[in-house]
Amino acid sequence: MKVVIMGCGRVGAQLAMLLDADGHSVTVLDVNADSFRRLPPDFGGSALLGNGIDEEALRRAGIEEADAFIAVTQGDNRNVMAAQIAKHIFNVPKVICRIYDPLRRDIYETLGIDAISPTTVFARLLKEKLET
C-alpha cells in the first residue's frame, strides 16, 4: 500500500515507522525539515519538505497514486483542509485526519471525512483506566 502522511510529529513519525516496517511504501510530508529527525535512521520511506494544503506539494508526494492519506499536523484546520483535498481533488481511496476539537470532528464526520479526535479517545481511555 502507498501511504502519504502529512505531519512528521510524534504520531506521524511513529505511524510512518510502523507502516514502513510492515513493508508499505510511505512518504512523510512536513513544513519543517527539523521534524524528520523523529524518523528512525533505518526508515525506508521518503521524507519530503512541503505543505500538505498545497496541491503541488501533495502531487510531489505522490498523492495521485496513493492508496491512503493521513493528516496529523498540529492544526485541526490544516488537517481537515488537506484531507478534503486528498478526498475530493485526488480521490484517494482512504483518507483519515486528526481533529482535536470533538465538535469539529462531528461536523466533518457528517461531511464524510473519516476523522479521529484524540481528545475524545484519550479522555475515554483515562476514564476506563480510572474505573478498573
Binding site: I53, D54, E55, E56, G75, D76, N77, R78, V80, M81, Q84, I85, H88, I89, D101, L103, R104, I107, T110, L111
Partner: protein, 219 residues
C-alpha cells in the same frame, strides 16, 4: 442584514466599518484579545473574542440567524473551516472566504463556500495595470460576455502605421478609443492609423483577448 465576520485584522476591521455605515448588524469574531479590545475601543461592542471555527463560539454569536458569514483571517485553512461550519452546521445562506493561494478557489467552491475572494489575484491585477510594458490590461468586466481592455501598441508591432481596417481584429471586437500622448483622446475610424505607444481601449469578448493582443502587438 446580520453579518458575521471572522478575523479582525485590517480586512475585517475596515470591512466592518463599511458594513456598519451601510446600516448592517455586524459582529467580528477574533481570537486575539488585544486586537479584539482595540476594535471594541474604537467601534463599540462589535467584536467578540473567540475561535470562529468553533461550534460553541458560533452558537453564542447567533450564527443560525446570520444572513451572511465572511471569513477574512490570513489563513486559507481557517477561512475554509469557518465557512464550512457556518454553512453545514448553521445553514448560513451565504458564505464568503478570503483566500491567499489562488489555487484554492476551485477547492473552496467544491466544498460549499459560496464566494471566494483571492487577495493575491486582486493585488497582482492592480500591480499589472501599473507596469508600463504590460501589453494588455483589464479595465472592466461585464458578466462573462464582455470586457473592456487597454492595449498599448509597442514600437515595432506590425500594426504600427496601418489603418485599423487592415488589421485582422477578432470578430465582435470594437476599438472604441485611442489615447495618444500630447493629443486629445480620439474615437478611431476604419481609416485611423495606429502609432507606436498608442493606448487603445477596446470592448471584446473574453475569448478574443489573445487574438486582439496578437493583432495589435504582434511583430
Amino acid at each position: 442584514m446580520y453579518i458575521i465576520i471572522v478575523g479582525g485584522g485590517r480586512t475585517g476591521y475596515y470591512l466592518t466599518k463599511a458594513l456598519l455605515d451601510e446600516g448592517h448588524e455586524v459582529l467580528i469574531v477574533e481570537k486575539n484579545a488585544t486586537i479584539c479590545n482595540n476594535i471594541v475601543d474604537q467601534m463599540g461592542g462589535v467584536c467578540i473574542r473567540g475561535d470562529g471555527c468553533e461550534t460553541t463560539t458560533l452558537e453564542e454569536v447567533g450564527t443560525a440567524r446570520a444572513d451572511m458569514f465572511i471569513a477574512v483571517t490570513g489563513d486559507d485553512e481557517d477561512n475554509l473551516v469557518a465557512c464550512q461550519v457556518a454553512k453545514h452546521r448553521f445553514k448560513v445562506p451565504r458564505t464568503i472566504a478570503r483566500i491567499r493561494n489562488p489555487k484554492n478557489e476551485t477547492l473552496f467552491k467544491k466544498l460549499g463556500v459560496d464566494v471566494t475572494v483571492s487577495s493575491t489575484n486582486i493585488i497582482i491585477e492592480h500591480i499589472e495595470e501599473e507596469v508600463p510594458t504590460h501589453p494588455l490590461i483589464h479595465l472592466l468586466t461585464y458578466g462573462d460576455r464582455l470586457e473592456i481592455v487597454e492595449v498599448r501598441i509597442p514600437a515595432g508591432a506590425t500594426a504600427v502605421g496601418k489603418p485599423i481596417k487592415e488589421l485582422s481584429l477578432p470578430t465582435g471586437s470594437v476599438l472604441s478609443l485611442i489615447i495618444r500622448k500630447g493629443q486629445k483622446p480620439q474615437v478611431p475610424t476604419a481609416k485611423t492609423i495606429l502609432q507606436a505607444d498608442d493606448q487603445v481601449i477596446a470592448a471584446i469578448a473574453p475569448e478574443s483577448e489573445e487574438a486582439l493582443r496578437s493583432a495589435l502587438t504582434g511583430v
